[in-house]
């Protein structure tokens, strides 16, 4: 399968930066996959995200979206339409003072015809479970609801890839759950490629692939079941492991034979049950 995003040996240094924020990063993102990017502060994960839809352009190397080079000015709108981006603070992404008008913003920008905009807006709001709130004022919604509206606003462009840059950092636990559940559904049911930048290990545990960054380089890359059991390595990178992995590793140390790759709460529960029943 051809990758939807191909990153080739990208290096990027911020104008006021002493060392590169990205240092020779290469990465292929396959369509329909759910990739989580982890890393401590300053590891370059947000910088990487900003390269995916041409907010930042590589200093060296190149980024291809569906074969289009992000450095090519004439493909800018085509790239941004394919790669939707959701940011941390939901308040600062919402343009209009009625939910449905905000979701309509992107397709209006793209010059989509009005009946089609209506259809896309309704579909996008239903996909994130916010259809009943379409006439609400955004400032009266909870953080998780606002963030889902922001996701709907991006979905209305009909993107292939959804990049989320720490979308749950400002939310309460309930809002976090709502947002992550919506994102997971979009990937599994709609086949949208998801790239999730996060600090939360339990969110990353739900991904197909986990990428760990440190000082502008990719240092670990694999399925959650392969990455998380390497707890010592993660700790050395100033990261934690999901609570499920922590539990399994301790039970293993105590002599129970559990599969270390059971990282989601469901898999972990099954594994523990299995071990206890024997």
């Amino acid at each position: 399968m051809d990758p939807v995003i191909r990153i080739e040996n990208v290096t990027y240094t911020y104008p006021d930066g002493a060392r590169p924020a990205l240092d020779g990063v290469s990465l292929d993102i396959l369509p329909g996959t759910f990739t989580a990017v982890l890393g401590s502060n300053g590891s370059g994960k947000s910088t990487l995200a900003k390269h995916l839809n041409a907010i930042l352009l590589p200093g060296a190397g190149r980024v291809l979206v569906d074969g289009m080079d992000t450095a090519d000015e004439k493909d800018l709108i085509a790239i941004r339409r394919r790669v939707g981006m959701v940011f941390q603070n939901p308040d600062n992404q919402i343009v209009a003072n009625v939910v449905e008008d905000d979701v309509a913003f992107a397709p209006e920008n793209l010059g989509v015809e009005s009946a089609e905009i209506r259809r896309r807006v309704d579909a996008a709001l239903k996909q994130v479970g916010m259809y009943d709130f379409r006439m609400h004022a955004p400032h009266l919604l909870s953080g998780g609801q606002k963030q889902r509206v922001a996701i709907a606003g991006v979905l209305a462009m009909d993107p292939e890839v959804l990049v989320l840059d720490e979308p749950t950092a400002m939310l309460d636990p309930r809002g976090r759950r709502e947002v992550i559940a919506s994102v997971e559904r979009l990937c599994r049911d709609r086949g949208i490629t998801v790239v999730l930048i996060t600090h939360h290990m339990d969110e990353a545990a739900r991904a197909d692939r986990v990428i760990v960054m440190d000082r502008g380089r990719i240092v670990m890359d694999g399925a959650p079941g392969q990455v998380f059991p390497q707890a010592d390595r993660l700790r050395a990178l100033r990261l934690t492991v999901p609570e499920t992995t922590e539990l399994i590793l301790r039970l293993r140390a105590a002599g129970l034979d559990l599969p270390p790759e059971a990282v989601t709460p469901e898999a972990c529960a099954d594994a523990v049950k299995e071990a206890l029943c024997h």
């Binding site: 941004r80 009625v98 008008d101 991006v154």
Partner: protein, 268 residues
């Protein structure tokens, strides 16, 4: 405390007035104001008042809401009255005490001016009470459309208005938060002389300003990510439609102006 501010008060409803195209309402408001300013007879003022009452009745806006809106204007109204009452020249003196003199012309003019201000403000209130801010913005954008030919950035202006309206509640919330934060550190915002209180506002305004700039930056980025590319080639989800109701409203508007001109001619 800041939560009490209601901006662009809009009372949602489903009446013939609410359902008119915002363009119609904007134009008719202009017609109404122009009509009001040509009135120079008591009969004319009665007609304007009757028209105002009729719109109020149809739109089911309670008179109390209008009175509440007019309250902050009491000072201007009293000022207008006093100015016209005491400073109008004329020889038909009604009352004189030392240098204070009230003439009949002055009294008439004072009443007329007060009515004019009241009717003017009430008319525009009826517009904002029955039309959502977004609809007004949309209507203005469409009405000012021809100015695009003169390179007036009509679309950008309307987007600015829309974003400003969107961020008012967010910024009020933020001001509340900063106020609490500064109070928690012992800031005193409520006592002291006026200059002292003005100075106390500084630690409030500076953080608010800085965070607004940060917000603007992030919003601009988010808009670019959603393919915002200026007003060129943009479409709209909600299109404005004129119906027979709007035609009927325009006919009523024309009748209103006709009647005012007739009364003016007849001098009633």
């Amino acid at each position: 405390m800041l939560k009490d501010i209601t901006l662009g008060q809009y009372f949602p409803g489903d009446t013939p007035v609410h359902n008119l195209d915002p363009r119609t309402k904007l134009l008719l408001t202009v017609v109404y104001i122009a009509g009001l300013f040509t009135v120079n007879t008591w009969g004319g003022y009665a007609l304007v008042f009757a028209a105002l009452c009729a719109v109020m009745a149809v739109s089911r806006i309670r008179p109390r809401a209008l009175v509440k809106g007019l309250k902050p204007l009491v000072f201007i109204i009293v000022f207008t009255a006093v100015l016209n009452l005491f400073f109008t020249a004329g020889d038909d003196i009604l009352f004189q005490w030392r240098f204070i003199r009230v003439t009949q012309t002055g009294l008439k003019r004072a009443v007329a001016m007060v009515l004019r201000v009241l009717f003017l403000v009430s008319g525009t209130f009826l517009l904002t009470y029955t039309t959502s801010p977004l609809a007004i913005t949309d209507g203005l954008e469409k009405l000012l459309g021809p100015l695009k030919k003169l390179h007036v950035p009509v679309y950008e202006l309307s987007l600015m208005m829309c974003i400003a309206l969107r961020f008012i509640p967010t910024l009020i919330e933020e001001t509340d938060r900063i106020m609490s934060a500064q109070k928690a550190r012992g800031a005193d915002l409520e006592t002291g002389t006026l200059p002292e209180r003005a100075k106390a506002l500084l630690p409030l305004l500076i953080p608010l300003f800085i965070s607004s700039f940060r917000r603007a930056d992030e919003l601009a980025l988010a808009m670019e990510c959603r393919c915002y590319n200026g007003g060129e080639g943009r479409t709209r989800m909600k299109q404005l439609h004129m119906t027979w109701r709007d035609a009927a409203a325009f006919v009523l508007g024309a009748l209103f102006v006709g009647a005012i001109l007739l009364l003016r001619r007849l001098g009633i």
